[in-house]
Symmetry: C2
Subunit: 158 residues, 2 copies
């Protein structure tokens, strides 16, 4: 119930223990800072880049599907798409079969910018994972997908 270590004995011992949640939080925080900085050099926020990336990889989704894919609230996605559209990087099309649906599409300008930022971000991400085997990075991705509760395991997550 008392200090497991006499005060002032071996000095401060900053060992964080099991708290996986907090470790994930801090790792994500740090990676967001690094890749966000890269994206902003090109005039994009991290989320705007993520949206462009999803539009590139999974074209044809409507806004609701896109939000679920990215784990973004529909109102958060709105503000991203608004700015991207104002910048001419995205256009919202209408789905003729259901006129409620709107399908965001990346423009040529958007695709060019996305490709540039993707290269820079990939560099940052890989350098942040220096010292880890490629196998381990694959394990990391598997675990993150498992935590998110992802598509390939048990259907949609959020």
């Amino acid at each position: 119930m008392q200090s497991p270590q006499p005060p002032g004995a071996a000095g401060p011992r900053p060992t964080v223990d099991s708290e996986i949640t907090w470790l994930l939080h801090r790792a994500a925080q740090r990676m967001r800072a690094a890749t966000g900085e890269v994206a902003e050099k090109h005039g994009l926020t991290l989320r705007e880049y993520i949206v462009l990336s999803a539009l590139h990889k999974s074209p044809g989704l409507n806004q609701g599907e896109l939000g679920k894919t990215l784990g973004l609230d529909k109102t958060t996605l709105m503000s991203q798409l608004d700015r991207l559209e104002r910048s001419g990087l995205v256009v919202r099309h209408n789905d003729p079969r259901d006129r409620r649906l709107r399908i965001p599409v990346i423009t040529a300008d958007g695709e060019a910018l996305r490709a540039t930022v993707a290269d820079a971000c990939d560099n940052v991400e890989t350098s942040a994972l220096t010292g880890l085997d490629p196998d381990e990075v694959q394990i990391l991705r598997r675990m993150l997908f498992a935590i998110i509760g992802d598509v390939e395991d048990r259907g949609s997550c959020l």
Copy 2:
């Protein structure tokens, strides 16, 4: 340069690719939601619990050291400590050798609550990692520490 998949062919294919940053962000978001819910059942925010946990594991740190250990800004740590002190879970002592320094100490009540919440949070965390070998979880922790840029590798991080 165009859609890698003809529009409307095989339907939406929501595969997120290399974006480790975003995967980390979403995984952390989900874990924070889960453990935060647990903590709030006991009247604590996740950050308040994290602070209590650090005070338990690394007693004797002053506020500056504590903030660095947890990766919390000193002003953020302040608000956590204020509420913990008001609730009688923490007391701030003075360091007689340097009267600028204040050393937060967990009280008996704080320790009892921390232990309760720790059990509940550990359960949530382990169940979130179901389907992963214990070895893999160790790999995960190593990688997270590497990303954070931690003590055991290259000195303090933030």
